[in-house]
Structure formats: C-alpha cells, structure tokens
Amino acid sequence: MLPTAAFLLKLSKHLAFLTSLFILGRASGRVDVDPLWIFGAAALASALHLASRAFRMRSVRQMQSGSATR
C-alpha cells in the first residue's frame, strides 16, 4: 500500500506541474489544450494526492492494528 501511495503522490505532482505547463503553453500558443482538460488535470491531481494520503494513512493504521492483534 505504501508503494502505491508514493507512486500516486508522484503522479499527482507530475499532473499539477503539467497543469501549469498547459496554461503557459496555451497562453503562448504552443499547445492547444481545452481549459476543461486543464481543469480535469488539476482535479485529477488533487484526487490522486488525496488518495495517496489515504493509502499512506491506511497502511500506518494497518501496521498499528496488526501489532495490536499480535
């Protein structure tokens, strides 16, 4: 679960950075990306970020409950 969390965190940062690049690219006319897609990238980044945190916390909880049951 922790590896998944780390991967999702990285992916979310990647998407957040892409969002800025898309905005810059669109403003300078280098890329033609619909604003809705840009918003989608930002929203997806946010969702992945929250999911990565949830995975991390769940794995910590699992470790704790694992120790308690033992």
Partner: protein
Amino acid sequence: MIVELLRPEKIVTGLRGELSQALEQLFARSSFPERVNEFRAALAQRNSRLYSYVGDETVVPHVRIEGLPRPEMILGLARDGVRLDGRLVKVLLFLATPAEWTEEHLQLLQRLSSVLPAIKDELLAASGAGSAWNVLAKGEREAGKATYFNLTQQQVAFELQTDLERGLDAAEAERRLLHYGPNVLKRSRKTPWYLKLLRNFFSFFAVLLWMAALLCYVPGVDMPQLGSAIFVVVLVNGLFAYLQEEKSDRALEMLQNLIAQCCRVMRDGLRSEIDAATLVPGDLIFLDEGDRVPADARLIEAFEVEVDNSSLTGEANPARRYKSDRPILVSGKFLWIELPNIVFAGTTVVKGNARAVVIGTGMHSEIGKIAGLTQAIRTEDSPLQKQLRGTVVAVSALAGALGAVFLLLGWLVAGLSFFEALVFFIGLFVANVPEGLLPTVTLALAMGVTRMAKRNALVKSLPSVETLGCTTVICCDKTGTLTQNLMMVTELYVDGKRLDVSGVGYRSEGEFSLDGRPLSLEEISRWPALRRLLECAFICNNARLEKTGAADRVLGDPTEGALVTLAEKAGIRGTHQRLHLNPFESIRKRMSVAVQVDGRGEKLLYVKGAPLETLGRCEFLFENGAMRRLEDGDRRRIAAENDAMASRGLRVLALSYRDDAELQNASYEAETMERRLVFLGLAAMSDPVRAEVPPAIRACHAAGIRVIMITGDYALTAASIGRQIGLGDGASLSARSGAELSEMDDEKVRAILAGGETIFARVSPEHKLRIVSLLREMGEVVAVTGDGVNDAPALKRADIGIAMGLRGNDVAKEAAHMILADDNFGSIVAAIEEGRAVFDNIRRFAAYVLNSNPQEIYPYIFWVLFPGMPLAMTVMGVLAVDVGTDLIPAMGLGVEPPEKGIMERPPRRRDEKLLSLKFILRSYFVQGSLLAFSCYATYCYMGWLLGVWRPGLGLSAMPASPPGLKLDQASPAYLQSLTAYFFPTVTTQIANVLCKRSWKTSLFSREFLNPLYRRELLEKLAGWRPRPYTARVRIDHPVAAVSVKEIAKAFFAPVSALALLPFKLLLMGGAKIAVALERPVIVPLAARLSRFMERHPVFLNLVSNPLIDLGILCELALCYLFFYTPLARIYFFAPVPWHVYLFAFHGAALLLIFEEVKKYYRRRGHPLEFLG
C-alpha cells in the same frame, strides 16, 4: 526525591525553644515568604501535630496549600531539642505541598517517615547545612528509592480531609473538582488546527496548483474562470487533507482509554455511579472483579484482591493487593507502584473486591506522570530524514541558482525571448531537483518495514528502519527477550545433598540425578525427605499445568508452575483436601497451605517462601527420614547453599512443613501457623536462555553493536544470564544495581557506559530513562526494549524504542518505534540487518536517480551555449523521464535483500552522509556522462538515418527546434530526434538498475544472491502450482441501506460486479485450463525451469527481483505509450525505426561492461570510489 526538593540553604541548624518558635525560624528560609501566614494558619487550623510526630525525636509538620506553585521543604536541626507536647524533638522538617498534589504529598510523607528517623543521629552530628544535606542525600540513596513507611488509614483520611465511612460530601467534591481538575490525562500542546489547515493549503503539491491558478490571472493568459476553478480545487484538497490528518493522532487516546469511564463512589454516605472524570482525591470508591481502576487509591477494605498491573509495569502475572493499616516501615526496597495496599489507575481488578480512597487523579496519578513524561519528550527527526531534507533543499537551491544564471544568460546573452529562457529554467530546475528522491526513500523504507515484519519486527514509523541500521547500542531487558519467560527447577538441595533436575520448560518429562546418576521413580519414592519436599512443592501451590497440543502451559504464577512441573516429573499427585491458604505477601515473603491428607486425620501445613525468611521460621530439620532440631551450623550450611545457588543466577525457594500437635488446634492466622516449621530443602529454578540469543549476541559483536542488559531482576541472576548469552565477549561481567546507579553522578555512569557491555539490575524506569539519555548524549544510537507503561518514556527517548508484542501493553507499543511480534532478541538483530540493507538500498537508488540527471541537463546546456544547436530533450521529455523511469525500478532496488557480509562491518556513523558532494559529482560526471554519451550517440544515429548528420558534422546539423520552441509546429524529423535521445535514457537506466543491485558482486556470478535466498527462490519456482480461481459474483446486494455510504455501496456494488464479470470469467477460465495442465505440463516445466536456473545463475539473478523486472517492463510500456499513442502529442515524441531502438541498447551494454570491471577491482580490494 527528598534531596531534589531540599537545598542546603533550606537547612537550619541550632534550633531551640518551643516548636512554634522553631517553626518561625524555618519559615524565615521559605521561598514563599508571602505564603507564610497561610502555612501558620493551616498548621493551626488542622491541628496537624496529631500526625506530625514520626518517631525517634523527629517531627514533620506538613500542610497542603492551594495555589502553591511547587512543594516547599525546610529542615531544622536542634541538638538540644525543641519542645513539643512535653517531649523533645531534634529533627524538624516542614513540608508544604500544592493542594492538588495529593498522591505526591502522601508519597513524600511516607518517604520522610522512613528516611529521617534512620539518619537522625548522623544529621545531628553534621557540622553545617552542607554536610547535613550530604547526610540526607546519602541516607536517601542508601535507603533506596523504594523504602516507605506505611501511613495508617486514619492518617491518610486526615491528609486527604475525607471521611472513610461516608466519603466526601457532594459540595466538597464539586469544589475539589474545580480546584484539582478532572480525572483525565491532559493532552500535550499540539499544533493549533489553523496552522495544520494552513500547512495543508501550502504543501508542495498545493503550491504547484496555486502557481497554476495564479498563472490564469496573469495578463496575456487571461483565463480567470479556470483560475477560480483551480483555486476551488486547492481549497477542497487542503480541507480534505486537513481532515485526514486530524484522524491520525491516537497516542493519548490509548492512555486515556486505560482509565475507567465510570465508577462507583460513596458521597454523602450514599453509593452512586459517576463519571470517572469527576473523581477527586478523597473520594471513596468501590472496586469489583473486572473493574478498571479509575484513579490511584489506597485500599481501605480488600477481599482477595488481585490486580492486573500489566498496563503499568508490563508484569503479566496478577499481583495480590490487600489492606495494610499498620504504621510500620515497609521492609525491602519497594517501588511506589509495588506497594501492596495501593491500586493504580489504568490497572484492572482481576479478582476480589475492595473499598479504597482516591489519593491521586488525572495527571497526578502514576499513569498521568508517565503520560506527562512521554509527552514532554520531543520526537526528533531521524538522521536520514534530516539528511534528505538538507540534501533536497541544497540540490534544489543549486538547481534554482543554476537555472536562474542560465535564464539570464539565455535571455540577455543568447538572444532568447524571456519565455524561451523561462522554459529553459523550468527544464533545468525539473531535471535537477531530486523530487523523486523522497517518495523513493519512503518506498525503500516501506519495503524494509514489510521485510522486517516477515522477521517478526513490526516497524511503526518508516524513518526508524534506517535508524536501526546505525544502531550502536541495544539496551535490552532480560525476561522474555533474552530468556524464555518461564521458570524451571534445575537444582534441589535436600537431605544435605544436591540434586540436578533435567527437562524442558513446563513439560512433565525429566529426571532427577544425584552426582550424575539418574534416580528412578522408585528411588525417589523411597527417599522420604525428597518425597516430602516434592509433596510440599505440589500442594503449597496455586498453579496448574494445561496441555496445549505438544506444549504445556502454566495457569498461574510461573514460579509455582515450575514447582508443579517438578512434582509431576517425579509422578507426585497430591491426594489432599485444602483447609486454608495464607497467600504470598511481599512483606511476609512466603505462603502456606493447611491440608488434610487422605488417610490421615491430622492437619498438615506446607510452607514455601524466600529462603532466609522461611529458614528464620524453622526450628527443625527433616533429615534421613527423621526430624531433628535445626542447629546454628545447619542454618549456616543452608544459607551458604542458598548463596551458592543465587550466585549462579538461580531463583531459590525454601520448602518446609509442620504437623505437630499444637498445629492441630491452632488458628489459621499466618503468624500463628507459620512457626516451628520443619525445614525440607531448597528448590532452585531459572528462566532458560532462548536458544537464538547467544548467536544473535555474537552477530551483534561482529557488527560492532554493544548490548547492555537493563533488568528489574536481581543482580546475580542478571549476571548469570549475561554470562550464558556471551555478554562481554568472555570478559567478566558484574551487574550494577539501581541503588548504585542512584549514587553515581552522570560522569561515573558515562564512564561505565563507555566501558563496553554491562548489566544494570534492580533498576526503576527512571534509571532506564537516565541510562538511555546518557547514551544518547554520548552520541550512541540506542535501541531500547520495554513492555510496560513505565517503560514508555525510555522507549520514546530512545532512537529506536522496541515494545514487546506478546507481553507489551498498548501504551508501550504506542510509544515504541518498533514492536517485536515474538518478543525475541534475535528479531532485533534481524531488524538491524534489514535496517542496514535499507540504507544500502537507499544509497543505491539515490545514485540511480542522480545518474539520470546529466542526460537531462546536457541538452539545455548545449542549447543555450551553442546557438543553432537544437534542443534534444524538451521539458515534457524531462517530465516523462521523471515519472516513467525513476520510480518503479527504484522500488525494485528498495526490495533488495541484505548483501553478503552486511553484519560484518561496523555500524554506520549517525552523521554519515547519504549524498556527499563527491558522491553527487561522481554520479553526475562519471556514470552520468557515460549515459549521456550513449543518448547523444543514438540521437546522432537518428540524424544519420534522416540524412542530416554524418560523422564530422556538429550537433547543429541535427533537425532544428521549432522557432520559439512552439512544439506543436515541430517537424516530424525533430520529434523523431527527440525520441532517439529519450529512448536511450530508458535503456541505460535498465542496465544501471541491474548494476546497482550489488556493490562488488558480479551480476553474472553464483554469489550474487544469498545462498539461502537462492535456495528459497528455486524451491518456490519448482513448487509453483496454479491456484484454482472461483469468481465470486454477487449482484443481489441488499437495498435496505441507512447511510449515504451504504446507499452508494448498494448502488455501485452490482454495477461494478457486472462490469468486472467478463474479467472474472476470463480469469476463471484461464485458471481452469492451468489446473488441467498442472500434471502434464506445469509440474515438469517448473521442475525443469528450476534446474535450469540452478545451472545458469545469471538467469536467476535477473529474475530474482520481480519488481525490477516489472519496472523495466513498465518503462518499456510507457515508452510505447509516449511514442505510439495520443500521449505522443502531449509529450512531443514520434515513432522511430526499430533499429534505432535496438541501437539504443548499446549504452546498456557499455554500462554493464563498465560496472563489471569496477566490481572486479572492488573484489580485489580496490574501491575505485572516484569512478562512482
């Protein structure tokens, strides 16, 4: 305790006159002159003279004052004496405590009442205040921290101002609640919620989105709607992240849960049930079997009470508690929490019922003090966390500075537009910032956690894993960790002869031998003294054995279990009727059982207990089948035998009996029955050492780790166990007691701790905390084991706190960084090995990640420095490398098992750099340049194929970048050249990750894998069988849902089940085919494959880390997605001919050769560090 509160300037000598005059002289030294009137009034009002006199010309006038910030203690000495109610008093100590410190007040009184009379003469002989203080300090140390005078119930009631029959009245309880506070554990100061919220709004991730949102408002961009929408996303994300965080902190709740929620109390003479939080000192409470004790309380009435103190002390066996009202000095060195007439908050009544008066609540209870200690200790970052944070900041700053310089150069010198220069800056920055490093390290640590869990070490916080790797000292307790936590009788002394007893644990198989000759059961039964002793062991006993499969388990006290086992080995079964039991009391130090043996009408008393105390009650000796008077010579002989057994670390019990005529009519009172005893013999038992411990200790020594034993057990026992397990590596070891430790100043203790392995016995939690703190101050990385609440401060203070999974309680587990599932010392050593492997792995993939950076930097440097040269890698290319190639192969490096010889080198220094400047430079300029060369070679090969480049031409001949870097207008040839540069970054990293798996062992050799691991892999491969798969499809989920979550579940479950149905059916079909092919195909194939792998180790080496193989496959799959799908339009790539891909693998071959040559020289003792 006393000397901490009493300074030399608070000692007055030469007092004379009446007590009131003497008191005035003491008040003149008060730290609170403005409160002196209150002292006078309190002393007058409460007529405390009644309880001030503590005996032997010593008086302790004492008051409790509301609002007093800390206790006040002033000592007066009067050689000629001062007059008090017609008698002379020579030692006068005034004590004032804050009103809410009820328990501390009683504790101080009990302590003063025990210490002052004992040192009165020395105090009076002291020449001045300084020497009197030294006498007091010495006296307190010699008394040991645990000696107390028992106060009577009336005095306790007086001190607490309560009525032991009617309890407090409701108004007084209300007032006390207001003044003393509720009976709850206070939370330590935490980060305020608004700071937490702000932190989530401005995390690195949130800042990235903030940047995006703000960009939308920049003139020229003009997308305010999009900006607002992203702004909302940031807010929602921050809010949810904050809510997630709020759930996570559970440490204090664990402690709070230990305190009862409600309790039965007597107020105004009426019994009622109240919220335990409203209990106050002085309340009368009722305790029944199964109750959790709500506050620290002194027992007023007790019937057969036993409490489970494990939550406080870690002690697994219930402790007997009883009413003890005599004003006596409690002999022996007792800890406060061991006093037999006090029960403590957080413990549980397992048997009996009691009435008790509350003496301490909330943070003034013992559990509250531990909570306070635990909260006061700051949690520090691990060495790796600190290093990583520093490294990331330093490298990021360097990247930012480099990027800024090139931005200015590009914009002002190279003639780029500001936007082009900015993109360049971003590219350089992104390429250099090792932002993948932190998540990758998290992964490696997580992998370490998983591997450690398989070896019975459950690590709670990730950074602890690497801290384990630099552990230099293990402070370990004895019982259950080094030993098996069971008792077994190994020697007997009976009839003047010494017998050996063999066996395993509580199993009833074993034999008795005399001078090496085994005794038959018949011989045992014909030996009257031995037979009587075994009967005594069996009958004077409350334990019994329970068969659980092959093993036996003791129900009851382990010591008693050992005696039952001993009797069963001789086939002794008692046929008796128990008439009465006088249970073991720590003050009497023995127990007795009166029985009527079948076939005999008379009463018989069996007694067992501490040797000297029991011997003191004996008048006769059973020898050669007859009873005779016990002479002084016999006593000396028995005492010498006891000393000899104890010096071997054995726990010794004396056994005796009584059956005289006087007993037949005697009452059942212990004092009446337990005298005129007939001595039978001694039984010596030990807790056997765990078999895994001696090799683990040897492994520690080889790995440069010292082991310090800290135990509550006796010094001789501890020293004996120390010798058995090989502590001190053959050097003679002596154990130092807690009392000795108290006498030493920090310098002396440091000198002992620096001197090598040692043993501390009979220590309190404070001693343990002091040892750990000093070791840490000395720069050691300390791992500490513990199992009770009282160990929590030391566990938290240690670099690695290790709680026992089987014996430890929840608070200890909560405070610890790691939990041992099997309570075994060997698991700690295994965890250290894994910790070292984790650091090695982190280092490996740090190098791996850094190696990929130069390939991303060079194109920018060439692009800006050489006008006309095309940009070979775009910002999107850098991002693609970052997300596609760094993570998954790095994960593979994180799961590498420990390398051979990892425990034969000294511990890593705490300050050893993970990434030194030399290391970064080597990674960039040696291996990194080699990889970049391969990328440019493939890039040129593509140019050659396109017909624009040939040897002799510069890179400027390659397809040009689009004007203004408008990549959507880039030519297909340029996009292909981008692909040709990008693909080798992936192929070279594939070789890189394979090479990084070991530091000096060849990837192609048989030694590459640990032999045990290789065998395990081959067996796994040979034994692989397909598993049948049954698709569990359920689409009839119930609709009667009550919450939104359930409604959503009820709605989505059938939908998802239907959507997954085809895949499940496919899996089921595939599994069925595989099962059908198992015998004819899979079994022989798996066996052949295993044999093939055994013969050709290189193949096994390549597939032995599935995560790396998966990472390689993922990298290649991502390349396909980047080149051949619509993602190509986002990342700006285009497909290239197949032989370009093939050519790109030349870099992988080059790197493999380079690394193998390096490893060859390393195996021959040349580290070749300059080559990376």
